[in-house]
């Protein structure tokens, strides 16, 4: 059977020289992962340039899809962060759309950029660093109140503060691992079931019913993966909003 992990291998497409920054060598070569991200960003930009080109009162097909995605994130930010979150809508929407396009690209083309832990961890760190910076800019040193929720008997703080700090530090890790794990798991399962079709189909008439069953599973799983691709991008946006809300409304914490 074909190796289901082969699809996640990084290959260099364009060789570029290695640059040394502060004594650390950084390989600038364009790999298939970088190419997939560039393509996703390009597709996203082109899509929204065309979707917002006419700006008609009664939207056409492209504009309707663009508005649908935008309204989804807009409503989400409003319901979680309230009015104060309006400023962060561009950030959240960009993250959502970028992750969505990378996920969907994995369904249509050969490479899923979000199945690389390096990519998802970068996005996760980006979110949490934004949260920290916004938290300090808005609250100053009161930011540390995040780790000490009010309305608790004081002896509990000895237990609660370490837990809160730990749960804050693990946020980027869970954010990254969730997206990475879902994409990796889904695509591995797809390839394994596709491998069943070939292996059973090659056995002749005996294996034919099994191959048919596996084929049906592949079709159903592909539909499921399209849903997961959208849902994970949505979950990423929801969690970004929730984490931002924590530091935006620190008084109610």
């Amino acid at each position: 059977m074909a190796d289901p992990m082969h699809q996640f291998q990084i290959q260099k497409i364009v060789e570029l020289p290695t640059v040394t920054v502060f004594g650390m060598p950084i390989d600038l070569s364009i790999t298939n992962s970088v190419a997939a991200m560039l393509l996703a960003a390009t597709l996203l930009s082109v899509f929204y340039v065309f979707a917002s080109a006419k700006r008609a009162v009664v939207p056409g097909r492209m504009q309707a899809v663009g508005e649908l995605l935008y309204n989804l994130v807009d409503g989400l930010g409003d319901s979680i962060m309230g009015h104060a979150g309006k400023k962060f809508l561009p950030f959240v929407f960009t993250l959502f759309a970028f992750v969505l396009f990378m996920n969907l690209q994995g369904m249509f083309l050969i490479f899923t950029a979000t199945s690389q832990l390096a990519v998802t961890l970068t996005l996760g760190m980006l979110v949490i660093l934004t949260v920290v910076v916004v938290g300090f800019a808005k609250n100053g040193l009161k930011f540390f109140k995040l780790f000490a929720p009010s309305g608790v008997p004081w002896p509990l703080y000895f237990l609660l503060v370490p837990i809160e700090i730990l749960s804050f530090l693990i946020r980027p890790v869970t954010l990254a691992l969730r997206l990475f794990g879902n994409m990796l798991g889904g695509h591995v399962v797809l390839k394994i079931f596709a491998g069943f079709v070939i292996a059973l189909g090659g056995m002749g008439l005996i294996g034919f019913p099994g191959a048919l069953l596996a084929m049906g599973s592949v079709v159903a799983l592909t539909a499921l993966e399209f849903m997961v691709a959208f849902l994970q991008a949505f979950v990423f946006a929801v969690l970004t909003c929730v984490y931002l809300n924590d530091v935006l409304h620190l008084d109610s914490h």
């Binding site: 319901s79 979680i80 869970t174 794990g181 798991g185 849902l231 979950v235 929801v238 969690l239």
Partner: protein, 75 residues
């Protein structure tokens, strides 16, 4: 039994952690639908919280997957 066989068994056992995530997701969606069918007007505004809970529950299952991959690819 050679070491690579033990590695596969260990990775398989590590995936048992997914059981908890499965039970958790079942309980969560079940309770959501119970609440949503009793009071459908309040269902829509609780949906982001549903997905948040789903994401947090699922993350714990994904940790099991990561441990399994670590065992499988460890030297």
């Amino acid at each position: 039994m050679d070491a690579s066989a033990a590695k596969f068994i260990g990775a398989g056992l590590a995936m048992l952690g997914m059981i908890g995530a499965g039970i958790g997701l079942g309980v969560m969606f079940g309770n959501y639908f119970q609440g949503a069918l009793r009071n459908p007007t309040a269902a829509a505004q609780e949906r982001p919280m549903l997905f948040l809970g789903m994401a947090l529950t699922e993350a714990l299952g994904i940790f099991a997957l990561v441990v399994a991959i670590l065992i499988l690819n460890g030297k």
